[in-house]
């Protein structure tokens, strides 16, 4: 069978189902907002899998091509800003719940915060790279020291088996540090021409999306306020929620297509969840209030009234909504792979207008 026939048969599901069993998962993964990196051992290569929101990207490193593996420990005490913010938000939400005299929910959240902080501050982080003839590549999945050691041991065995043996002294020559270059003092080194001034507007997020996120944040906060102090749903929450849902989800989906939604754009998904949840809590309260009025049976009326006045339920939903909104906002502001940085186009919620 020719190459073309084999390649086009590649689109068949049966063939792919047969090929799924040859990869073995390695320890370690790195998860971000709807983005996850993992490593798999293949028969003759290492497969780096990057799962985006609705797709997977693959990169292969053949064992016979791997020249070096490097592991560097992260500095002690280093933690991403997002983790500190998450701990702070959880602590603040705990304080708010305690202040509002929801002691049970406040205690539960405090326990969860302590457990999360303990695991976060205790772990050891690291970074790993490999080198081939084509260049160097970082292995984002190996970001925890414990799992990285296990994974690198498995990779090391395969690489050694795939390459001819060599004496350790010979291999060590590649790690010898070259002597420092002699310093030559140049009186007036030639200066490169000045770079053009970078406009401040290039990396600034689009005002429309910033306003959208601010509105979501305000909606979540107001929902929390109404749940705690004024248990009366907003009559205009549903139309506003629907409008925001259409603006933040449907329009970009139509503009860029499903496959192009990745990375920081996942913030939109969380925003839509916030809106959906707001509508859901509103609908729950409104439905139960209507049903309790119309119910003929006293027990049914009592049940609906109990759900309607279940403040811990509404407070919990509102806290989750608020956390999701804050999470989406942070993810958007800390976006690393915004297409606007590369293309120079204005940065928007969905990366750049020039996709």
């Amino acid at each position: 069978m020719g190459v073309a026939a084999r390649l086009y048969r590649n689109e068949g599901a049966k063939l792919m189902a047969a090929s799924t069993s040859e990869y073995k998962r390695l320890p370690g993964k790195k998860s971000r907002l709807l983005r996850r990196d993992r490593l798999y051992l293949g028969p003759d290569h290492l497969l780096l899998v990057r799962s985006l929101s609705f797709s997977e990207e693959y990169r292969r490193f053949y064992f016979s091509d791997i020249q070096a593996l490097v592991l560097q420990e992260r500095r002690k005490g280093y933690r991403p800003v997002v983790e500190w913010i998450a701990i702070g938000v959880c602590a603040a939400a705990t304080g708010a719940l305690m202040w509002a005299q929801h002691e049970i929910w406040g205690t539960l959240l405090a326990l969860l915060t302590i457990v999360y902080a303990w695991f976060t501050l205790r772990r050891e982080d690291c970074k790993a790279w490999l080198q081939t003839a084509a260049g160097t590549a970082e292995l984002p999945a190996l970001c925890r020291m414990r799992s990285a050691r296990k994974a690198l041991a498995a990779i090391d065995d395969r690489v050694r088996a795939a390459q001819p043996s060599m004496a350790p002294e010979e291999l060590g020559r590649a790690l010898e540090t070259p002597p420092p270059l002699p310093i030559q003092i140049v009186e007036t080194p030639p200066q490169p021409p000045a770079l053009p001034a970078v406009s401040e507007d290039i990396r600034r997020p689009s005002p429309l999306y910033v306003a959208g996120f601010a509105a979501l944040l305000a909606l979540g906060g107001f929902k929390l306020y109404t749940a705690i102090f004024a248990p009366r749903a907003l009559p205009w929450a549903m139309p506003i929620g629907y409008l925001a849902f259409v603006a933040l989800m449907i329009v970009p989906l139509l503009r860029h297509g499903v496959k192009n939604i990745r990375g920081s754009r996942a913030a939109a998904v969380f925003s839509s969840l916030v809106i959906a949840g707001s509508i859901g809590t509103f609908a729950l309260r409104w439905t139960t209030s209507q049903a309790s009025r119309n119910a003929q049976d006293a027990n049914t009326r009592k049940l609906y009234a109990m759900v309607e006045t279940a403040e811990p339920l509404h407070v919990a939903v509102a806290v989750i909504l608020l956390l999701l909104a804050v999470w989406g906002l942070i993810a958007f502001l800390l976006a690393e792979e915004a297409a606007g940085e590369r293309s120079g186009a204005p940065l928007t919620l969905f990366g750049s207008d020039r996709l």
Binding site: Y23, S53, W129, A133
Partner: protein
């Protein structure tokens, strides 16, 4: 024949790390512990059969023919290839090694896959949260779930639980709408 940056430098203080030749861990001056393992491939000469060096100093050489100037990089493995080794496959450029591998391994050229099962699950769950949208979203979820069964799957082990769950949820939502329609019609008649 040497490690290349950024592997040679500390990722925190950017100082050059003097890796021991025995491969033991070393501590940088900023306190970061690092270790490196090298393999015989680092000493492999590119294009061992060729004798002539590359003409220009700043030019890249072909991975197979070191005397030939590289004109492209393989879209699958990243190796530089000369005009002789360059094989255009549709919109992609491949090297002979990747074509040879494709003779026996059909999945080696796949660079990405669309996850229809995740898509179906997101649509189904979203429509369950906002039930009014499920009139449209539930059939879409069913379509995406069926497509997930038919489309090429992920290269790595992955169950079809998402697709089955999305299919079930979509069918339940469609059934709910059908029941509601029948109920309204029956009530209007009575």
């Amino acid at each position: 024949m040497k490690l290349q940056p950024p592997l040679t430098h500390c990722h925190v203080c950017l100082a050059t790390i003097p890796y021991p030749t025995g491969g033991e861990p070393v501590t940088c001056r900023c306190g970061v512990v690092a270790s490196a393992r090298v393999y015989p491939a680092i000493f492999r000469l590119r294009g061992e059969s060729a004798g002539e060096p590359v003409q220009g100093e700043g030019e890249s050489a072909c991975f197979v023919h070191s005397e030939k100037r590289a004109v492209a990089a393989c879209d699958s493995c990243g190796r530089f290839v000369c005009a002789l080794c360059r094989i255009e496959w549709g919109s992609r450029v491949l090297c002979p090694a990747c074509i040879n591998a494709a003779e026996t391994r059909t999945d080696l050229l796949v660079r990405s896959r669309t996850l229809y099962d995740t898509m179906a699950l997101v649509v189904a769950v979203s429509s369950a949260i906002i039930f009014t949208l499920s009139l449209i979203a539930a059939p879409v979820a069913i379509y995406l779930a069926i497509r997930a069964f038919r489309a090429p799957r992920s290269l790595v082990p992955r169950t079809m639980v998402r697709a089955w769950f999305a299919l079930g949820l979509g069918l339940v939502e469609v059934g709910g709408w059908a029941w509601l329609l029948v109920y309204i019609v029956m009530k209007a008649r009575s």
